[in-house]
């Protein structure tokens, strides 16, 4: 899904689940992206634009399938399928799955 696992670590370090992290291959309808967060950055014709602007400028229709580029850490966690590829490959054995599960639950970090 192109979700940058390092982004989750940055979000933990900043204690801010609202920071934008790379999620470069998540496909969803423009409406769903807007409902999730109007600030989601899309990759549209090789240009980066927020879903709010893309809909506002009629570059996409609400039912158009879009590919995301950046989204909030808490939203990225929700679309993550928990494939655990990040945790398997992490040389520092960071508890990435726990972070993702915490964010999935209530969009916040629990005590580590």
């Amino acid at each position: 899904l192109g979700i940058d696992a390092q982004g989750f670590i940055s979000a933990v370090n900043a204690n801010d689940p609202d920071i934008y992290i790379l999620a470069t291959n998540v496909r969803m309808s423009a409406k769903k992206a807007y409902d999730t967060d109007p600030g989601i950055i899309l990759m549209l014709n090789r240009k980066k634009i927020s879903v709010k602007d893309a809909l506002g400028q009629s570059l996409v229709q609400p039912d158009t399938e879009v590919v995301t580029f950046k989204m909030k850490a808490k939203d990225a966690a929700k679309v993550c399928i928990d494939c655990t590829a990040c945790e398997k490959i992490c040389p520092l054995h960071l508890p990435l799955l726990k972070i993702i599960k915490d964010l999935k639950k209530d969009g916040k970090f629990s005590e580590m």
Partner: protein
Amino acid sequence: MIQKSTVKLIILLVMATLVVFFTRKVIIEKFPGNYPMITPSLEFKTAFYKDRVEFTLPKATKSGRIIIYAYNIEGGYFGILKPIYNNTVKVYRNDFADFSINIEWNKITDVIFLKQMDRYIKRVNMFDLLELGRSKHLRHGVQACLYPICTKCTDGCKSVLPNGDLPIKMMVMKNGQIMPVFFRGKCPRCGKCFIWCPSEVIKKGKKPWEM
């Protein structure tokens, strides 16, 4: 007269039987759970349009995503991960494959992810492949199992059976899709596969005495 050694042997056998009888649950039933059950392939309808190919499914998967696959003339497998909306999956003209799999004699030899972060290392148009599949009768369709993006079932097996010889193996079906195949004899019934499966391809099956 029974010899002393024979008596000793009988006592030893009785003791061994008693030990096995009282500890069998600990030794044999380490994971006294259910066997997994592999769900059959999804049936779907395909409709080709000028700008898209639509796959209509009887129901959405648990993860809300599915893989659309298509083979090229050389027998290479290409797939794209797609969201499901209203039980429909659409592949558009400018959709490129996310990954390819090399298959030799129905065995997976290599997996290559074609999109790495925001750039493609190779662009393979899925719409064109599906069109080709329709015209040349090549294998194409939907795959509920999210392999190779997800390998949680085999990861679960590996965590319990680290020495290999796993009860779940990913295999290529006749229709070309890749699905987990389960071999009951080797399964320790830990249940990780059906608990972890994000698309409910592997479900909780029956217990041995219910079969």
